[in-house]
Symmetry: C2
Subunit: 294 residues, 2 copies
């Protein structure tokens, strides 16, 4: 097999694209896919300031790396929730990549902003940390993107993430969540536009990119995370993919093309939280609700 | 644990119903579930002549047994496709049960009706036997039910079957198939009403019924069947059920309640096949098309 790009010996077999490339050309191939998604789905242009939410994992770091090398105006943010044995390590690899790329990294520290770490607030209000974490991250990334003057917030969700979410929402027939799931959520009220440029690339394809370009990533799993069914769903979808190559992609694209247009989003009018001013569908946002109870 | 029905020692744990029963009461419990489904979904009444399509497997035999004991007017049919090492054995257990219950069994023999067995026609027209089998069975069961004066045709599809079909149709986003999937298909043109009274009972629940009431069932698998993905999907759903009891039922019921009403059936007008007169959406039905090419 020859590399489809340079003709040398192929080293990475890309079954679902019906082609193979060498390790030197793989990053170019990968970035080509990212750029194609960004352009086709009109996520942003080379002139738009894009805010990339980094977690320290391979996906968000690969996304920042790829967008930067493609010439997009990427800024980076990191949400430090103060999770011991996790946040420090994650933050360090984000700082390293941003320093290497000469990209500004803006950090939101939960303890500084709200007075408590995630574990502390979770213990005090007796709510599972994951539910508060999601709300905090959604709010903080949106606020930071807005305050940094970015019109778009990009996250590193890959195809495996999207398929696992989709499957989880189908299992529960959460039509309202399904109606909102997808690669692009348009801006509204104080919410910036949100995009997922890696949504058509598999976990494995991102892993290979991170490895070849030599990204230092944080491999640890969050110590607060319970038995996450999403990991189980991902395993199932990997089995399905083994039986039917490209099933993840066709399932996800089929959903976007066929089912999503039939669903209507039913969400309350957005307004400003009476306490922090951030967008919410209630009087007080869920982050303030959690921290008020402390 | 005590049996919820008679108070003696419980022997069958029914996790998803939050109860347990003894082996003597299980058949009554099972038939109660069948009756409830038949009544709630207005499938048929005790006065309607119901045609039960038997395959020789535990599901259809349990269905006939349960309906008969519940006092429904059940007639039985069997489609003999002439599959060697399979059809004879299946037919024998159907004849045995019908004789035990004193229910008439009406047999459709493909070779007698169309001149060839399934394997023969499949080989001659070079089409996979499963595709022809489905068409032949749909047509023959419908015709027999109609000719026997039955207003309803009941099949033994259980919850595991329905969930596997549903999942398969979701994988491919076959919206047209999804729109038609469910426990009841109303009569139209020359098509009798079709119902699945076991659709809310799991494979395992039916297996226990067949075992306790002592049904002689045919265990063999069709020798013509290829690598059927439905078996693989059933395994996945059993894993999911192990992680989240009752997920099969809530997934299937959620589909019927939430997604199905959003889908519209897009099917051509039905007319009579120019050759055999059976209902079809084309000029010549798919069974005649296959046999014409021989």
């Amino acid at each position: 097999m020859r590399c489809a790009l340079c003709g040398r010996k192929a080293e990475v077999k890309l079954v679902r694209y019906g082609t193979s490339v060498c390790r030197s050309c793989y990053p170019e191939f990968f970035r080509g896919r990212v750029e194609k998604t960004v352009e086709r789905l009109r996520m942003f242009s080379k002139d738009d300031p894009v805010c990339v939410a980094l977690s320290g994992g391979k996906d968000s770091l690969s996304l920042l790396h790829a967008l930067h090398l493609l010439g997009y105006k990427a800024k980076a943010i990191f949400i430090d929730l103060g999770i011991s044995g996790y946040s420090e390590g994650s933050r360090k690899v984000c700082e390293k990549l941003c320093s290497d790329l000469n990209v500004d990294l803006h950090v939101y520290e939960l303890r500084r902003e709200r007075g408590l770490t995630l574990s502390e607030v979770s213990r005090k209000v007796r709510r599972p940390p994951c539910s508060i974490c999601g709300a905090v991250k959604r709010q903080a990334t949106n606020r930071m993107a807005r305050e940094l003057g970015c019109t778009v917030l990009a996250t590193g969700h890959n195809l495996d993430d999207e398929v696992a979410f989709l499957f989880s929402n189908l299992l529960n027939w959460n039509l309202n969540y399904l109606a909102r799931q997808g690669p692009v959520s348009e801006a509204k009220f104080k919410m910036v536009k949100k995009v997922k440029p890696l949504c058509f690339l598999t976990d494995e394809e991102v892993r290979i990119y991170a490895e070849i370009v030599g990204l230092e990533v944080f491999e640890g799993r969050c110590p607060l995370e319970g038995k996450a069914p999403l990991h189980f769903y991902k395993r199932i979808w990997n089995e399905l993919e083994g039986m039917r190559p490209d099933v993840k992609s066709s399932f996800y694209k089929g959903f976007l093309r066929k089912l999503k247009p039939l669903l209507s989003v039913d969400e309350g009018e957005l307004r400003s939280c009476k306490i922090c001013g951030e967008p919410t569908s209630r009087d007080v946002c869920s982050v303030c609700s959690a921290f008020m109870k402390v």
